[in-house]
Protein backbone atom coordinates (compact mmCIF):
# COMPACT_ATOMS: atom_id res chain seq x y z
CA UNK A 1 0.00 0.00 0.00
CA UNK A 2 2.74 2.49 1.02
CA UNK A 3 4.77 1.53 -2.04
CA UNK A 4 1.82 2.14 -4.31
CA UNK A 5 0.80 5.53 -2.94
CA UNK A 6 3.60 7.59 -4.57
CA UNK A 7 2.84 5.90 -7.87
CA UNK A 8 -0.86 6.74 -7.63
CA UNK A 9 -0.09 10.36 -6.72
CA UNK A 10 2.38 10.62 -9.60
CA UNK A 11 -0.11 9.23 -12.10
CA UNK A 12 -2.89 11.56 -11.06
CA UNK A 13 -0.53 14.54 -11.13
CA UNK A 14 0.27 13.51 -14.67
CA UNK A 15 -3.43 13.51 -15.54
CA UNK A 16 -3.88 16.94 -14.01
CA UNK A 17 -0.90 18.23 -15.98
CA UNK A 18 -2.82 17.41 -19.13
CA UNK A 19 -5.68 19.47 -17.78
CA UNK A 20 -3.42 22.50 -17.93
CA UNK A 21 -2.43 21.86 -21.52
CA UNK A 22 -2.83 25.08 -23.50
CA UNK A 23 -4.68 23.30 -26.29
CA UNK A 24 -7.46 22.17 -23.95
CA UNK A 25 -7.61 25.00 -21.44
CA UNK A 26 -10.68 27.18 -21.85
CA UNK A 27 -11.44 30.46 -20.12
CA UNK A 28 -14.71 30.81 -18.28
CA UNK A 29 -16.58 34.00 -19.01
CA UNK A 30 -19.51 35.58 -17.14
CA UNK A 31 -22.82 34.02 -18.11
CA UNK A 32 -21.28 30.75 -19.11
CA UNK A 33 -23.51 28.69 -16.78
CA UNK A 34 -26.05 27.15 -19.16
CA UNK A 35 -29.05 24.99 -18.37
CA UNK A 36 -31.51 22.98 -20.44
CA UNK A 37 -34.19 20.33 -19.84
CA UNK A 38 -34.86 17.67 -22.39
CA UNK A 39 -35.92 14.03 -22.29
CA UNK A 40 -38.83 11.94 -23.44
CA UNK A 41 -42.38 10.87 -22.68
CA UNK A 42 -43.72 7.44 -23.53
CA UNK A 43 -47.03 5.61 -23.44
CA UNK A 44 -47.84 2.03 -24.41
CA UNK A 45 -50.74 -0.24 -25.25
CA UNK A 46 -50.71 -4.04 -25.09
CA UNK A 47 -53.11 -6.80 -26.02
CA UNK A 48 -52.92 -10.57 -25.61
CA UNK A 49 -55.20 -13.45 -24.62
CA UNK A 50 -54.86 -12.58 -20.91
CA UNK A 51 -55.12 -8.80 -20.84
CA UNK A 52 -55.66 -5.72 -22.92
CA UNK A 53 -55.32 -2.01 -22.26
CA UNK A 54 -53.21 1.09 -22.10
CA UNK A 55 -50.29 0.46 -19.80
CA UNK A 56 -47.17 2.20 -18.76
CA UNK A 57 -46.83 5.97 -19.04
CA UNK A 58 -43.30 7.26 -18.50
CA UNK A 59 -42.03 10.81 -18.26
CA UNK A 60 -38.27 11.23 -18.08
CA UNK A 61 -36.95 14.80 -17.94
CA UNK A 62 -33.17 15.14 -18.20
CA UNK A 63 -31.65 18.20 -16.55
CA UNK A 64 -28.32 19.42 -17.89
CA UNK A 65 -26.11 22.15 -16.48
CA UNK A 66 -22.97 23.27 -18.26
CA UNK A 67 -21.49 25.21 -15.36
CA UNK A 68 -18.33 25.98 -17.30
CA UNK A 69 -16.52 24.34 -20.22
CA UNK A 70 -14.99 21.94 -17.69
CA UNK A 71 -17.81 21.38 -15.19
CA UNK A 72 -21.01 19.62 -16.17
CA UNK A 73 -23.95 18.13 -14.25
CA UNK A 74 -26.49 15.73 -15.75
CA UNK A 75 -29.52 14.33 -13.93
CA UNK A 76 -32.58 12.35 -14.96
CA UNK A 77 -35.79 11.95 -12.98
CA UNK A 78 -38.02 9.06 -13.89
CA UNK A 79 -41.77 9.20 -13.34
CA UNK A 80 -43.44 5.89 -14.18
CA UNK A 81 -46.87 4.26 -13.77
CA UNK A 82 -45.94 0.70 -14.75
CA UNK A 83 -46.65 -0.89 -11.37
CA UNK A 84 -50.12 0.57 -10.89
CA UNK A 85 -49.05 3.69 -9.03
CA UNK A 86 -46.89 6.70 -9.76
CA UNK A 87 -43.24 5.96 -9.04
CA UNK A 88 -40.71 8.74 -8.88
CA UNK A 89 -37.08 7.76 -9.14
CA UNK A 90 -33.70 9.36 -9.57
CA UNK A 91 -32.31 7.59 -12.60
CA UNK A 92 -28.99 9.43 -12.39
CA UNK A 93 -27.32 12.56 -11.03
CA UNK A 94 -23.76 12.75 -12.23
CA UNK A 95 -21.10 15.44 -11.83
CA UNK A 96 -18.44 15.59 -14.52
CA UNK A 97 -15.06 17.27 -14.74
CA UNK A 98 -13.63 17.45 -18.25
CA UNK A 99 -9.90 17.06 -17.60
CA UNK A 100 -8.85 17.22 -21.21
CA UNK A 101 -10.21 16.19 -24.55
CA UNK A 102 -9.55 12.51 -23.90
CA UNK A 103 -10.51 12.24 -20.24
CA UNK A 104 -13.57 13.04 -18.12
CA UNK A 105 -13.75 12.26 -14.41
CA UNK A 106 -17.19 11.87 -12.88
CA UNK A 107 -18.91 11.06 -9.59
CA UNK A 108 -22.49 10.50 -8.48
CA UNK A 109 -25.25 8.16 -9.50
CA UNK A 110 -24.71 7.31 -13.15
CA UNK A 111 -25.46 4.87 -15.96
CA UNK A 112 -22.38 2.67 -16.15
CA UNK A 113 -21.49 1.65 -19.67
CA UNK A 114 -21.80 -2.02 -18.88
CA UNK A 115 -22.83 -3.31 -22.28
CA UNK A 116 -24.67 -0.95 -24.60
CA UNK A 117 -28.34 -1.78 -24.13
CA UNK A 118 -29.23 -0.73 -20.61
CA UNK A 119 -28.44 2.91 -20.14
CA UNK A 120 -28.13 3.69 -23.85
CA UNK A 121 -29.87 1.67 -26.57
CA UNK A 122 -32.89 0.94 -24.33
CA UNK A 123 -33.84 4.62 -24.42
CA UNK A 124 -37.36 5.09 -25.83
CA UNK A 125 -36.28 6.76 -29.07
CA UNK A 126 -33.32 4.42 -29.66
CA UNK A 127 -35.08 1.12 -28.99
CA UNK A 128 -37.12 0.18 -32.08
CA UNK A 129 -39.41 -2.00 -29.92
CA UNK A 130 -41.86 -1.13 -27.12
CA UNK A 131 -40.36 -3.91 -24.95
CA UNK A 132 -36.95 -5.13 -23.81
CA UNK A 133 -35.12 -8.25 -25.02
CA UNK A 134 -35.54 -11.30 -22.75
CA UNK A 135 -33.06 -11.01 -19.87
CA UNK A 136 -32.35 -7.31 -20.46
CA UNK A 137 -35.31 -5.66 -18.73
CA UNK A 138 -36.59 -5.84 -15.16
CA UNK A 139 -35.70 -9.25 -13.72
CA UNK A 140 -32.87 -9.53 -16.21
CA UNK A 141 -29.14 -9.54 -15.55
CA UNK A 142 -26.27 -7.05 -15.58
CA UNK A 143 -25.36 -3.69 -14.10
CA UNK A 144 -27.91 -0.92 -14.53
CA UNK A 145 -27.48 2.23 -12.42
CA UNK A 146 -24.55 2.67 -10.05
CA UNK A 147 -23.30 5.10 -7.42
CA UNK A 148 -19.59 5.87 -7.23
CA UNK A 149 -16.95 7.52 -9.38
CA UNK A 150 -15.29 6.83 -12.69
CA UNK A 151 -13.33 8.00 -15.68
CA UNK A 152 -14.30 7.89 -19.33
CA UNK A 153 -13.22 9.14 -22.69
CA UNK A 154 -12.02 8.27 -26.16
CA UNK A 155 -8.50 7.65 -27.42
CA UNK A 156 -7.92 7.99 -31.17
CA UNK A 157 -5.39 5.63 -32.71
CA UNK A 158 -4.83 6.67 -36.30
CA UNK A 159 -8.18 6.20 -38.04
CA UNK A 160 -9.83 4.25 -35.27
CA UNK A 161 -10.90 5.04 -31.72
CA UNK A 162 -10.86 3.24 -28.41
CA UNK A 163 -13.68 4.26 -26.07
CA UNK A 164 -13.14 3.55 -22.39
CA UNK A 165 -15.12 3.71 -19.16
CA UNK A 166 -13.82 2.57 -15.78
CA UNK A 167 -15.54 2.98 -12.44
CA UNK A 168 -15.58 2.09 -8.76
CA UNK A 169 -19.14 1.81 -7.38
CA UNK A 170 -21.26 0.36 -4.58
CA UNK A 171 -22.34 -2.44 -6.90
CA UNK A 172 -25.28 -4.83 -6.89
CA UNK A 173 -27.04 -6.24 -3.82
CA UNK A 174 -27.80 -9.95 -3.58
CA UNK A 175 -31.51 -10.64 -3.00
CA UNK A 176 -32.40 -13.50 -0.67
CA UNK A 177 -36.20 -13.35 -0.35
CA UNK A 178 -38.02 -16.53 -1.33
CA UNK A 179 -39.18 -15.44 -4.78
CA UNK A 180 -36.03 -13.63 -5.86
CA UNK A 181 -33.27 -15.64 -4.16
CA UNK A 182 -30.08 -15.31 -6.20
CA UNK A 183 -31.20 -12.26 -8.16
CA UNK A 184 -29.80 -8.77 -7.63
CA UNK A 185 -30.87 -5.22 -7.00
CA UNK A 186 -28.87 -3.44 -9.69
CA UNK A 187 -30.15 0.04 -8.88
CA UNK A 188 -29.65 0.35 -5.11
CA UNK A 189 -29.23 3.87 -3.77
CA UNK A 190 -27.02 2.96 -0.78
CA UNK A 191 -24.36 0.30 -0.07
CA UNK A 192 -25.29 -2.90 1.77
CA UNK A 193 -21.78 -3.87 2.95
CA UNK A 194 -18.17 -2.67 2.90
CA UNK A 195 -17.29 -4.12 -0.51
CA UNK A 196 -17.17 -2.07 -3.67
CA UNK A 197 -17.49 -3.15 -7.28
CA UNK A 198 -14.97 -2.33 -9.98
CA UNK A 199 -15.94 -2.36 -13.61
CA UNK A 200 -15.57 -0.84 -17.01
CA UNK A 201 -16.00 -1.10 -20.73
CA UNK A 202 -13.51 -0.93 -23.57
CA UNK A 203 -14.98 -0.42 -27.02
CA UNK A 204 -13.37 -0.28 -30.40
CA UNK A 205 -14.62 1.94 -33.23
CA UNK A 206 -12.42 0.38 -35.90
CA UNK A 207 -13.47 2.26 -39.03
CA UNK A 208 -12.77 5.90 -39.80
CA UNK A 209 -16.45 6.47 -40.61
CA UNK A 210 -17.40 5.38 -37.04
CA UNK A 211 -20.27 3.12 -38.13
CA UNK A 212 -19.21 0.09 -36.08
CA UNK A 213 -18.69 -0.15 -32.34
CA UNK A 214 -17.73 -3.36 -30.55
CA UNK A 215 -17.47 -3.29 -26.75
CA UNK A 216 -16.37 -5.56 -23.94
CA UNK A 217 -17.53 -4.89 -20.37
CA UNK A 218 -16.52 -6.36 -17.04
CA UNK A 219 -17.65 -5.81 -13.47
CA UNK A 220 -16.64 -7.61 -10.30
CA UNK A 221 -17.70 -7.39 -6.68
CA UNK A 222 -16.24 -9.75 -4.07
CA UNK A 223 -19.12 -9.43 -1.59
CA UNK A 224 -22.75 -8.77 -2.51
CA UNK A 225 -24.83 -9.96 0.48
CA UNK A 226 -25.97 -7.72 3.33
CA UNK A 227 -23.36 -6.89 5.98
CA UNK A 228 -23.24 -9.48 8.77
CA UNK A 229 -25.21 -12.15 6.90
CA UNK A 230 -24.02 -15.55 5.72
CA UNK A 231 -24.04 -14.20 2.15
CA UNK A 232 -21.85 -11.18 2.84
CA UNK A 233 -18.93 -12.66 0.90
CA UNK A 234 -20.87 -13.99 -2.09
CA UNK A 235 -19.13 -12.65 -5.18
CA UNK A 236 -20.58 -11.48 -8.48
CA UNK A 237 -18.67 -11.35 -11.74
CA UNK A 238 -20.29 -10.00 -14.89
CA UNK A 239 -19.18 -9.73 -18.51
CA UNK A 240 -20.81 -8.32 -21.63
CA UNK A 241 -19.96 -8.07 -25.32
CA UNK A 242 -21.91 -5.61 -27.44
CA UNK A 243 -22.14 -4.69 -31.12
CA UNK A 244 -23.61 -1.63 -32.80
CA UNK A 245 -23.43 -1.16 -36.60
CA UNK A 246 -25.18 1.03 -39.14
CA UNK A 247 -24.74 1.51 -42.86
CA UNK A 248 -26.43 3.56 -45.54
CA UNK A 249 -27.03 1.16 -48.45
CA UNK A 250 -27.40 3.40 -51.48
CA UNK A 251 -28.66 0.81 -54.03
CA UNK A 252 -31.78 0.26 -51.91
CA UNK A 253 -31.83 3.84 -50.55
CA UNK A 254 -32.01 2.56 -46.99
CA UNK A 255 -30.23 2.59 -43.66
CA UNK A 256 -29.43 -0.76 -42.09
CA UNK A 257 -28.89 -0.94 -38.35
CA UNK A 258 -27.73 -4.01 -36.42
CA UNK A 259 -27.30 -4.18 -32.65
CA UNK A 260 -26.60 -7.09 -30.36
CA UNK A 261 -25.30 -7.93 -26.93
CA UNK A 262 -24.32 -10.95 -24.85
CA UNK A 263 -24.31 -10.76 -21.05
CA UNK A 264 -23.21 -13.29 -18.51
CA UNK A 265 -22.86 -13.27 -14.76
CA UNK A 266 -21.48 -15.73 -12.25
CA UNK A 267 -22.55 -15.70 -8.63
CA UNK A 268 -20.27 -17.22 -5.98
CA UNK A 269 -21.01 -20.84 -5.03
CA UNK A 270 -21.09 -20.00 -1.30
CA UNK A 271 -24.54 -18.36 -1.48
CA UNK A 272 -27.14 -19.90 0.81
CA UNK A 273 -30.89 -19.24 0.69
CA UNK A 274 -33.91 -20.25 2.76
CA UNK A 275 -36.92 -22.05 1.37
CA UNK A 276 -40.47 -20.78 1.98
CA UNK A 277 -40.67 -22.72 5.29
CA UNK A 278 -38.04 -20.33 6.67
CA UNK A 279 -35.77 -23.15 7.90
CA UNK A 280 -34.55 -25.33 5.02
CA UNK A 281 -31.34 -24.04 3.47
CA UNK A 282 -30.45 -24.59 -0.16
CA UNK A 283 -28.10 -23.38 -2.85
CA UNK A 284 -27.92 -23.64 -6.62
CA UNK A 285 -25.52 -23.00 -9.50
CA UNK A 286 -26.25 -19.39 -10.45
CA UNK A 287 -24.71 -18.45 -13.76
CA UNK A 288 -27.35 -16.88 -16.05
CA UNK A 289 -26.70 -15.36 -19.45
CA UNK A 290 -28.74 -13.45 -22.01
CA UNK A 291 -28.23 -12.26 -25.55
CA UNK A 292 -30.11 -10.51 -28.30
CA UNK A 293 -29.59 -9.61 -31.92
CA UNK A 294 -31.67 -6.93 -33.61
CA UNK A 295 -31.82 -5.63 -37.15
CA UNK A 296 -33.78 -2.77 -38.67
CA UNK A 297 -34.04 -1.18 -42.07
CA UNK A 298 -35.36 2.26 -42.92
CA UNK A 299 -35.68 3.64 -46.47
CA UNK A 300 -34.24 6.91 -45.26
CA UNK A 301 -32.82 7.94 -48.66
CA UNK A 302 -36.03 7.71 -50.75
CA UNK A 303 -37.86 10.83 -51.90
CA UNK A 304 -41.24 10.01 -50.38
CA UNK A 305 -41.46 11.54 -46.91
CA UNK A 306 -43.96 8.90 -45.79
CA UNK A 307 -41.77 5.94 -46.77
CA UNK A 308 -38.53 7.41 -45.50
CA UNK A 309 -40.10 7.75 -42.05
CA UNK A 310 -41.01 4.07 -41.90
CA UNK A 311 -38.72 1.50 -40.30
CA UNK A 312 -39.14 -2.24 -39.91
CA UNK A 313 -37.26 -4.21 -37.26
CA UNK A 314 -36.79 -7.73 -35.98
CA UNK A 315 -35.23 -8.87 -32.71
CA UNK A 316 -34.37 -12.30 -31.34
CA UNK A 317 -33.45 -12.69 -27.70
CA UNK A 318 -32.59 -15.57 -25.42
CA UNK A 319 -32.35 -15.71 -21.63
CA UNK A 320 -30.66 -18.74 -20.06
CA UNK A 321 -31.78 -18.94 -16.45
CA UNK A 322 -30.39 -21.11 -13.64
CA UNK A 323 -32.26 -24.43 -13.65
CA UNK A 324 -32.83 -24.60 -9.89
CA UNK A 325 -33.49 -20.92 -9.13
CA UNK A 326 -36.99 -20.01 -7.92
CA UNK A 327 -37.15 -17.54 -10.82
CA UNK A 328 -35.43 -19.88 -13.27
CA UNK A 329 -36.20 -23.37 -14.48
CA UNK A 330 -35.99 -23.05 -18.22
CA UNK A 331 -34.62 -20.84 -20.95
CA UNK A 332 -36.68 -18.06 -22.50
CA UNK A 333 -36.63 -17.01 -26.13
CA UNK A 334 -38.44 -14.10 -27.69
CA UNK A 335 -39.10 -13.11 -31.30
CA UNK A 336 -40.28 -9.56 -31.91
CA UNK A 337 -41.39 -7.84 -35.10
CA UNK A 338 -41.86 -4.08 -35.24
CA UNK A 339 -43.11 -1.43 -37.64
CA UNK A 340 -42.18 2.11 -36.63
CA UNK A 341 -43.10 5.51 -38.01
CA UNK A 342 -40.78 8.44 -37.25
CA UNK A 343 -42.56 11.71 -36.46
CA UNK A 344 -39.35 13.56 -35.68
CA UNK A 345 -35.70 12.61 -35.17
CA UNK A 346 -36.47 11.56 -31.56
CA UNK A 347 -40.23 10.87 -31.70
CA UNK A 348 -41.92 7.82 -33.13
CA UNK A 349 -44.88 5.44 -33.15
CA UNK A 350 -44.09 1.76 -32.61
CA UNK A 351 -46.27 -1.22 -33.44
CA UNK A 352 -44.89 -4.63 -32.51
CA UNK A 353 -45.81 -8.29 -32.18
CA UNK A 354 -43.97 -10.46 -29.68
CA UNK A 355 -43.83 -14.26 -29.52
CA UNK A 356 -42.23 -15.29 -26.24
CA UNK A 357 -41.85 -18.62 -24.41
CA UNK A 358 -44.24 -19.19 -21.50
CA UNK A 359 -46.24 -16.05 -22.29
CA UNK A 360 -49.14 -15.42 -24.67
CA UNK A 361 -48.19 -13.73 -27.93
CA UNK A 362 -48.64 -10.00 -27.46
CA UNK A 363 -49.45 -7.04 -29.66
CA UNK A 364 -47.82 -3.82 -28.48
CA UNK A 365 -48.14 -0.22 -29.58
CA UNK A 366 -46.37 2.76 -28.11
CA UNK A 367 -45.69 6.39 -28.76
CA UNK A 368 -42.48 8.15 -27.76
CA UNK A 369 -41.99 11.90 -27.91
CA UNK A 370 -38.51 13.25 -27.36
CA UNK A 371 -38.28 16.86 -26.28
Amino acid sequence: MRKLLPLIILLFLQILTYAQDASTATKTSPGSNKFVVYGNAEMSFMSNSDSKGFGEVNFKPIFLWRISPKLFVEAEAEIETGEGSVNLGLEYANMNYMVNQYLTLHAGRFLPKFGAYRGRLAEGFLNRFPSNPAGFGDGGIGASVETGFGALGALPFGSMKVLYDVYVVNGSHLLTDTANAGQFDYEAYIPNNKTMAVGGRIALVPFAKSNLEVGFSYQNKSGTGDLGTVNEKVSLSMQAVDLNYFENIKPIKSTLRITGEYRHQKVGDNAVYLKADGETQYSFANSPSAWYLSGSIRPSLVDSKFFRNLEIAYRYSNYQRPKDAPWGGSNLTSNEYALDYWLHWNSLLKIAYQVKDQEPSTFYASVVFGF
Binding site: L4, L7, A154
Partner: protein, 90 residues
Protein backbone atom coordinates in the same frame (compact mmCIF):
# COMPACT_ATOMS: atom_id res chain seq x y z
CA UNK B 1 -8.45 -2.76 -0.26
CA UNK B 2 -5.23 -3.90 -1.96
CA UNK B 3 -7.26 -5.20 -4.89
CA UNK B 4 -9.05 -1.88 -5.21
CA UNK B 5 -5.77 0.05 -5.23
CA UNK B 6 -4.37 -2.30 -7.85
CA UNK B 7 -7.42 -1.67 -10.02
CA UNK B 8 -7.07 2.11 -9.59
CA UNK B 9 -3.39 1.95 -10.53
CA UNK B 10 -4.16 -0.08 -13.65
CA UNK B 11 -6.88 2.39 -14.59
CA UNK B 12 -4.60 5.38 -14.02
CA UNK B 13 -1.78 3.82 -16.08
CA UNK B 14 -4.21 3.08 -18.89
CA UNK B 15 -5.63 6.59 -18.95
CA UNK B 16 -2.38 8.49 -18.66
CA UNK B 17 -0.52 6.16 -20.99
CA UNK B 18 -3.29 6.26 -23.55
CA UNK B 19 -3.60 10.02 -23.34
CA UNK B 20 0.12 10.49 -23.78
CA UNK B 21 0.30 8.08 -26.68
CA UNK B 22 -2.65 9.39 -28.63
CA UNK B 23 -2.11 13.11 -28.28
CA UNK B 24 -0.14 13.11 -31.50
CA UNK B 25 -1.52 10.07 -33.28
CA UNK B 26 -4.65 10.98 -35.21
CA UNK B 27 -4.59 10.15 -38.91
CA UNK B 28 -4.95 13.07 -41.33
CA UNK B 29 -8.08 11.36 -42.71
CA UNK B 30 -9.72 11.74 -39.30
CA UNK B 31 -8.14 15.10 -38.43
CA UNK B 32 -9.46 16.67 -41.63
CA UNK B 33 -13.07 15.58 -41.13
CA UNK B 34 -15.61 18.39 -41.20
CA UNK B 35 -18.19 19.01 -38.49
CA UNK B 36 -20.93 17.91 -40.88
CA UNK B 37 -19.18 14.62 -41.54
CA UNK B 38 -18.57 13.96 -37.84
CA UNK B 39 -22.20 14.86 -37.09
CA UNK B 40 -23.51 12.34 -39.63
CA UNK B 41 -21.18 9.58 -38.47
CA UNK B 42 -21.19 9.92 -34.68
CA UNK B 43 -24.81 10.92 -33.99
CA UNK B 44 -26.25 8.25 -36.28
CA UNK B 45 -24.30 5.51 -34.59
CA UNK B 46 -26.92 5.49 -31.79
CA UNK B 47 -29.84 7.66 -32.93
CA UNK B 48 -31.15 9.76 -35.80
CA UNK B 49 -29.01 12.86 -36.08
CA UNK B 50 -30.91 16.01 -35.04
CA UNK B 51 -30.91 18.65 -37.75
CA UNK B 52 -29.05 21.95 -37.57
CA UNK B 53 -31.51 24.54 -36.34
CA UNK B 54 -33.14 22.12 -33.89
CA UNK B 55 -31.73 23.97 -30.86
CA UNK B 56 -30.27 27.40 -30.16
CA UNK B 57 -26.52 27.95 -29.85
CA UNK B 58 -26.42 27.76 -26.05
CA UNK B 59 -28.34 24.49 -26.06
CA UNK B 60 -26.01 22.98 -28.64
CA UNK B 61 -23.09 23.69 -26.28
CA UNK B 62 -24.89 21.86 -23.47
CA UNK B 63 -26.04 18.95 -25.59
CA UNK B 64 -22.58 18.61 -27.14
CA UNK B 65 -21.03 18.24 -23.69
CA UNK B 66 -23.73 15.74 -22.69
CA UNK B 67 -22.95 13.67 -25.77
CA UNK B 68 -19.21 13.90 -25.10
CA UNK B 69 -19.96 12.00 -21.88
CA UNK B 70 -22.72 9.67 -23.08
CA UNK B 71 -21.08 8.69 -26.37
CA UNK B 72 -17.37 9.00 -25.46
CA UNK B 73 -16.65 11.70 -28.03
CA UNK B 74 -13.42 13.69 -27.96
CA UNK B 75 -13.57 17.44 -27.32
CA UNK B 76 -12.32 18.09 -30.84
CA UNK B 77 -15.19 16.06 -32.30
CA UNK B 78 -17.75 17.83 -30.12
CA UNK B 79 -16.42 21.28 -30.99
CA UNK B 80 -16.53 20.57 -34.73
CA UNK B 81 -20.03 19.08 -34.55
CA UNK B 82 -21.51 21.89 -32.46
CA UNK B 83 -19.92 24.55 -34.69
CA UNK B 84 -21.56 22.88 -37.68
CA UNK B 85 -24.94 22.67 -35.92
CA UNK B 86 -24.74 26.29 -34.76
CA UNK B 87 -23.99 27.46 -38.29
CA UNK B 88 -27.69 27.09 -39.18
CA UNK B 89 -28.57 29.60 -36.44
CA UNK B 90 -26.06 32.27 -37.49
Amino acid sequence: MKKLITYIVIIAIFITGGTALTGCYVSSKVANKSGAQLWGENCNRCHNAPGPGEFNNDNWDIIGTHMQIRANLTKTEVDKITEFLKSANN
